[in-house]
Amino acid sequence: MRIDTRLVRAGLGTDPQTGAVSTPIHPSATFAHPGLGRSTGFDYSRTANPTRRVLEQALAEVEGGVRAFAFPSGMAALTTLCLLFRPGDHLVASDDLYGGTYRLLERVFREYGLEVTYTDTTAPEWVEPALRPNTRALLVENPTNPLLKVADLEALGRLARDRGLVFVVDSTFLTPYLQRPLELGADIVVHSATKFLGGHNDLLAGILVAREPEWAERIEFLHNTTGAVLDPFSSWLLVRSLKTLAVRVEHQCRTAEKVARFLLGHPGVTRVYYPGLPDHPGRQILERQARGFGAMVSFRLRGAHEVPGFLERLRLVTFAESLGGAETLVTVPSRQTHCDMPSEVRERLGVTDDLVRLSVGLEGSEDLIEDLDRALQGESG
């Protein structure tokens, strides 16, 4: 079965008792036992819940992993990931990554003795110098947030295997519809499912998918022990979202490409970051390892002073954090998603106040382009 078929069939046939096509929401916190020492497979919802299980199985299947685990936010998934390591362990992570991940690593897990080096993770030659004898893992966002740098996952996967590292890929921007890191050598995939997987800006969720049973067992233990589990209602909502993932992402990618090309030719824009543009250094890699370039477009205005007016003049595009939903959203990463990163780090990376990040939604491309054009030209319309 192809992935779009698998996605549509998520949860189908999971309720033989009624034949319900939409998987039931099981809010039950606990489950009656047929007898002592006997179990239906479900004992307590933190440990396993039937609705969450349907979601987790669907995600494991579409990512090509053995097990998936659903958390109440992307950060909760990353917290659990970090708990796999020990004090004294060293991680190498993308230097241009989500500000919340940076905050978690720097402000929480560094206190517990996890060491992290941030580097350009687009190619093995940048990663290798950062490796140490105690390096245990490589954490890569692909593409990165917000500058959309693309990593050669196959090459990094070979490096990780040679050096005995756990290779973790945050695949939030591309989803399993466009990119399946486990097939390219990753050991664990992370998602903020709040974004494209959920796709409606109406739920918060995080996902970990493991390729091998060894990691799956350790994640399962931590998931249950530290207790950050996704609730049954959101689990059901996410299953529902998976059914439209392929059509949503296809449409969003097409519109993003049109928007990126429009922005590229606009005098009010000094630079456009979109991996689908011909001169983007990651385009060839994505052509090989993904089936699309995603729906995230970052761009620079002529100066930070242009940004407030631009945001004010937008009428269709909503100024709000987050991404991946049906509604097109715009953010200023340096002030919002990446504000926990020290300003000198932001400056060095180019996450400056003139940078705007656009998550392209499902509106008509002409309407979006018209709205952006008016806002860029300084017309209040």
Partner: protein, 383 residues
């Protein structure tokens, strides 16, 4: 005329204080939005992103803080997610003194997760002030208590423990799941942090998994809020609404469940097949005096020992009214077997040393009629 502070029962219901200003709807709407429109990049609005704050979650967090007499409440995806956030206040090299018969899941988080990050724990008999004092070290930063404890309903003197810990620079955390804020206000007794598995009495319907943290101190509130957002184990808007809905009936449920537990404890205590009943509402309970001084009722959970694994299994197989399951605090009575269920994460030797033997059963009284429950238990006990 002085305005009376509303009674807990009135606060639980919410009423006029939670009218949606846009529509007049009673109760906060379920705001599922993950993100919120912003007017100005320099001045974020009150709501930005649901992990850092959500109107529906905020409503239940405010209610929890008020009920516990704290200044800030935090809702989590499970009691263990709440516990994880509180334990994350600690740093490498810090030491925790924990009550020895605490919930198996908390025991597991301390010994199998936080221990790996250089946080050590010593388990002590918290009912004995000398034993607690002996467990303290120069690096002790936190004391973790449950009273009455799970499953043996041991009672700890909260005021004495909190004051002892404070003198030594340690925070006191109390898991108030069994008592709920209707019966016990640890923050008023000098405790720093209250934790709940809101899955239990607060939710009350066995239909959601949730946790809560309440504090009084503004610095602690800031730190817990930071960790809630940074670690991300937050309660969903839907379950936040369901929890607030559960709390509306908390007093009606708890009063009835407690009265049923009290009556069942009395009758079980006289039953020849029962070796011992653990319930702070029985006059011979060793902690009855302290409990009466710090809480306003004995609660709705009791444990009883039927002497052997065979006898316990017979009861579990014979009962028809209570559900045989883990968890507690729901409208349905739940009979559980700590030996293999809630406390299985504790090593057998540790369980036995505490008195959690293979003959022990834990009953969470629900809303069934007490006579139906008793007839069922009596038949199951072979009486």
């Amino acid at each position: 005329m002085n305005r009376r502070r509303p009674s807990p029962a009135t606060r639980c219901v919410g009423g006029r204080t939670e009218v949606d200003p846009t529509t007049g709807a009673l109760g906060t709407p379920i705001v599922m939005a993950s993100t919120f429109h912003q007017e100005d990049p320099g001045r974020p609005g009150p709501w930005e992103y649901t992990r850092s704050g959500n109107p529906t979650r905020h409503a239940v967090e405010t209610l929890l803080a008020e009920l516990e007499g704290g200044t800030a409440g935090f809702a989590f995806a499970s009691g263990m997610a709440a516990t994880t956030a509180v334990l994350s206040l600690l740093n490498q090299g810090d030491h925790v003194v924990a009550a020895q018969d605490l919930y198996g899941g908390t025991f597991r988080a301390l010994t199998a997760v936080f221990s790996r990050f250089g946080i050590e724990a010593t388990f002590a008999d918290a009912t004995d002030p000398d034993a607690l004092a002996r467990a303290f070290r120069s690096n002790t930063r936190m004391v973790w208590l449950e009273t009455p404890s799970n499953p043996l309903l041991h009672v700890t003197d909260l005021r004495a423990c909190a004051s002892f810990a404070r003198e030594r620079g340690a925070l006191t955390v109390v898991d108030n799941t069994f008592m709920t804020p209707l019966r016990q206000h640890p923050l008023g007794l000098g405790v720093d942090i209250v934790v709940h598995s809101a899955t239990k009495f607060l939710g009350g319907h066995s239909d959601l998994v949730a946790g809560a943290v309440v504090v009084s101190d503004p610095d602690l509130a800031q730190q817990v809020g930071y960790l809630q957002n940074a670690l991300g184990g937050v309660l969903s808007p839907h379950d936040s609404w369901l929890l607030a809905r559960g709390i509306k009936t908390l007093k009606a449920r708890y009063d009835t469940e407690e009265a049923t537990a009290q009556e069942l404890a009395r009758r079980l205590d006289e039953h020849p097949a029962v070796e011992r009943v653990y319930y702070p509402g029985l006059p011979d309970h060793p902690g009855a005096g302290i409990h009466a001084a710090q809480a306003s009722g004995p609660g709705a959970v009791l444990s009883f020992d039927v002497g052997s694994e065979e006898a316990a299994l017979r009861v579990l197989q014979a009962v028809e009214v209570p559900a045989v399951a883990v968890s507690l605090g729901g409208v349905e009575s739940i009979l559980s077997y700590p030996w293999t269920m809630s406390h299985a994460a504790m090593p057998p030797a540790h369980r036995r040393a505490l008195g959690i033997g293979p003959g022990l059963l834990r009953l969470s009284a629900g809303l069934e009629d007490v006579e139906d429950l008793w007839a069922d238990l009596e038949r199951a006990l072979g009486g």
